[in-house]
Symmetry: C3
Subunit: 269 residues, 3 copies
C-alpha cells in the first residue's frame, strides 16, 4: 500500500474485500434496507440488518463493520444505534455514520450530533447534510436531497466536521470529497441518474462500511466511492431511466474489473 488513492490501491482493496467477505451489520432505514443488502452481496460482502436493542451489541461482536443510518429514525432505533456504536468502539471495530436528512428537523439534527461524537470511522453524507453538521444552517437541507451550493463550501464543511469528530468525512455529489483533517481527495465518477434512484447514497454508506473491514478509514472511503461510482457509471449506460438502475448497479459491482475501474474513475486533487 505504498501508493494511496490510485486505481491500483482501490483494486487491491476490492480484491481483499471479495476474499474476506466481511459481515457488515447495518442499522439503516426501511427504504435502503433491501437495496443495501443486494449491493453488499453483489460487492462481495455479507450483509445483515439487525436493529433490536436486545441484540445489537451481540451482533456487533460477530460483525466486521457496522453502518448506522438515521433515515427513518425513531427513539427505539436511536437507542440501539447508540448501543451498537459504543460496543463497536469498545471492540475496536469500525463503524460508518450516515446522517440522513440532518438539518431537516431539530430531532434529526440532535440525533446526528449525538451519534457523530461516538467516534465513527467515516461519516458519509450529501453536501447539505455535511454542511448542516458543520453548522452551516438548516437551510442547506431540503428533505434528504441536497440543494447546497458549490464544491468549495462542501469541502470546507467536510473539513470542519472531520476536525470536530475525528472521522473521515465523505461528502458525495457530482464530485465526491473525502476529507480527513486537512487532507483532501476529490473523486469523479458516477452518473447524474443516480440521485433519481432512492437510497443509493445510503447504500454507498454501507459500501464504505464494507471497505473499512479491509482498509483504514480514509482508504476505505476512497475505495468505496471509486468502486461504487464506477459501477454507477456503467449501470447508467445500460438504462433509459432510473427504473433498472439498482439492478444494473448490482450487476456492475458483481462484474467489476480492474479495467472498468481505471476507465470510470478520476482522482483529482
Amino acid at each position: 500500500m505504498a501508493i494511496l488513492n490510485t486505481h491500483d490501491a482501490v483494486w487491491s482493496a476490492l480484491e481483499e474485500l471479495r476474499a474476506k467477505r466481511p459481515l457488515v451489520h447495518n442499522i439503516t432505514n426501511y427504504v435502503a434496507m433491501t437495496v443495501s443488502a443486494n449491493v453488499l452481496l453483489a460487492l462481495g460482502a455479507s450483509p445483515a440488518m439487525v436493529h433490536a436493542a436486545e441484540e445489537v451489541e451481540d451482533f456487533v461482536a460477530i460483525s466486521d463493520a457496522l453502518c448506522i443510518n438515521i433515515g427513518t429514525l425513531s427513539p427505539p432505533w436511536v437507542e440501539a444505534m447508540g448501543k451498537a456504536a459504543a460496543r463497536a468502539n469498545a471492540l475496536g471495530k469500525p463503524w460508518v455514520f450516515d446522517p440522513v436528512g440532518c438539518g431537516a428537523t431539530p430531532y434529526r439534527t440532535r440525533v446526528s450530533d449525538e451519534l457523530a461524537v461516538l467516534r465513527p470511522a467515516v461519516i458519509r453524507g450529501n453536501a447539505g447534510e455535511v454542511q448542516s453538521m458543520a453548522g452551516a444552517g438548516a437551510g442547506a437541507t431540503k428533505g434528504v436531497d441536497s440543494v447546497a451550493g458549490a464544491d468549495a463550501a462542501t469541502a470546507a464543511a467536510a473539513e470542519a466536521v472531520s476536525r470536530r469528530t475525528g472521522a473521515v468525512v465523505a461528502a458525495t455529489g457530482a464530485i465526491d470529497h473525502v476529507v480527513e483533517g486537512t487532507a483532501h481527495q476529490a473523486i469523479e465518477s458516477g452518473d447524474a441518474l443516480m440521485p433519481l434512484s432512492t437510497a443509493l447514497g445510503c447504500t454507498l454508506s454501507a459500501v464504505v462500511a464494507a471497505f473499512t473491514a479491509v482498509r483504514p478509514p480514509r482508504q476505505a472511503a476512497i475505495a468505496a466511492l471509486a468502486v461504487y461510482g464506477a459501477a454507477g457509471a456503467v449501470a447508467a449506460r445500460n438504462c433509459r431511466g432510473p427504473g433498472h438502475l439498482p439492478a444494473e448497479l448490482c450487476d456492475a459491482l458483481y462484474l467489476m474489473d480492474r479495467d472498468t475501474l481505471q476507465r470510470e474513475v478520476r482522482f483529482t486533487a
Copy 2:
C-alpha cells in the same frame, strides 16, 4: 386551466410538478416505501419517508404535501399519522389518505375512520376499501386486494365517502373513479398486470399527493391517475410478467410525454 379533465390539463399539471419538484412527505407502509420513493423521483418529485412522532410535525412544515398510508400500521405510527395530518391542516397543506385494507380487521377499520375525518384532500383506495369506508360491510375486503363488485357500486360508495369526509375520493381499479360530492370522472388506463406487482396502489396515492402540491384536490387526483395509468400501460407492454413492472413504470414516468399521455388515457363520463 379553463378546461378541466382533458389531456392538456393533465399535461400542464405534470409540467408544473416537474418544474416545482415538490417535497412529498410519506408516512407509509414498509412494503411501499422503496417503490413509492422511486416512483416519486421518476415522476419529478422529491420523496421523504419520515414517521417518528418526534419529528413529523416539523417535517410537514417543510414539505409541500403529505401522504398517509396505513398498510403496516401500529400504534406508534398511527399516533404520528394523526399529528402529521393535524399539522398539515393547521398549515393549509394538502394531505392524501390511503386506507389500505380498511374492512379487513376492526383495528384497521377504526383507524381508517379516525383518520378519514381529519380532512384529507384526497382519499385513494381500491373498490373494497372505499366500499368498506362507505359502510358497505367488511365482506368487501379480502386482505388488501379488492374483490368487490361492479363499478356502479364503487362509484356510489365513493360518493358516500366524499360527502361524509369532504374529501375527493379516488377509487381505483380496472376503471378509476374520481368523485367529489356528486361530481364524477371516470378514467381508463393502466394494465391488468399492475395488481400483480405489490404496492402500486399505495404508490399511486403518493403520486396523488405529489400532484396536490401543484393542483387543487380533484384536478390533482385526475392528473395523478391519468399519468400513472399511462405509465403503467407503457410499462406493461415492456414486460412478460410482473417482475420488471416497477422498474419499467419508473422509466415510463421519467420519459412521459404529451403524446403518450394522449394515447394511453381515456376520460369518460
Copy 3:
C-alpha cells in the same frame, strides 16, 4: 395424490394454488417484505403484511396460511408473532416458521426456541440455522448466511428439529432437504446466483406458506421448493449478475409450466 414427490404432484399443487389464490399473512422482516409480496403475487397467491399485536389475530382468521420470519425481530413484533401463531393453531390454520439468523445472537436463538414449539407446520431455514436449532452450536451461523458443512450433517439436524417440534423441516441450500421425522426427500434445483440476492430464502418460506393452503405440510414444502427452485434456475439463466434476479424470478413463477418444472427439478432419495 397417490404418488408423492413427483413432478405431477407438484404441478397439481401449483394449479390448485393458482385456482384458490390463498391469502397469505406474513409477519416478516423489513428486507424481505417487498420481494416476498411480489413473489407471492407472481406465484398466484394474495399476500398481506400485517404485524400489529392489535390486529394479527383478526387477520389470521381471514387468512389461509401464515408465515412468521424473525429476520428483523424486536419485542413488539415477537409479541405479535406469538399471538398470531397461537391463533393459527386455535383455528387449525397452517403456519410456517423461518428462524432467520438463529444462532447468531442469544436473543435470536431464544426467540427461535420459543416460536418453534408453537407447532409450526413447516420450519424453513438454511443449514446453519437448522443446525443451530438442533443444538449444533452457534458457530454454525455467520449472520444470516450459512457457512455450515456437509449435507449429511444438515439432514441429521433437520431430523432432530423435526422430531423435537413435530414440524416438517425444510433445510435449503445447494441441495434442499425436506424432513418429517425420519422421512426424507432431497430436491435439486435453483442456481448458485440465488444466495447473492437478498431475502430469497425468506421469500421461499412465504411460498411454502402459500402451498400449505392447498396441501399438507410435507407435500407443501416439497412443492414450494420444487417450484421456487425451477423458477430460480430459469431466472438465473436470464441474468449476468444478481441484480435482476428477483424480477426474473417473479416472471419465471408467473410463467411456470409443467415442462419447465419437469426439466428444472430433480427429486433424489
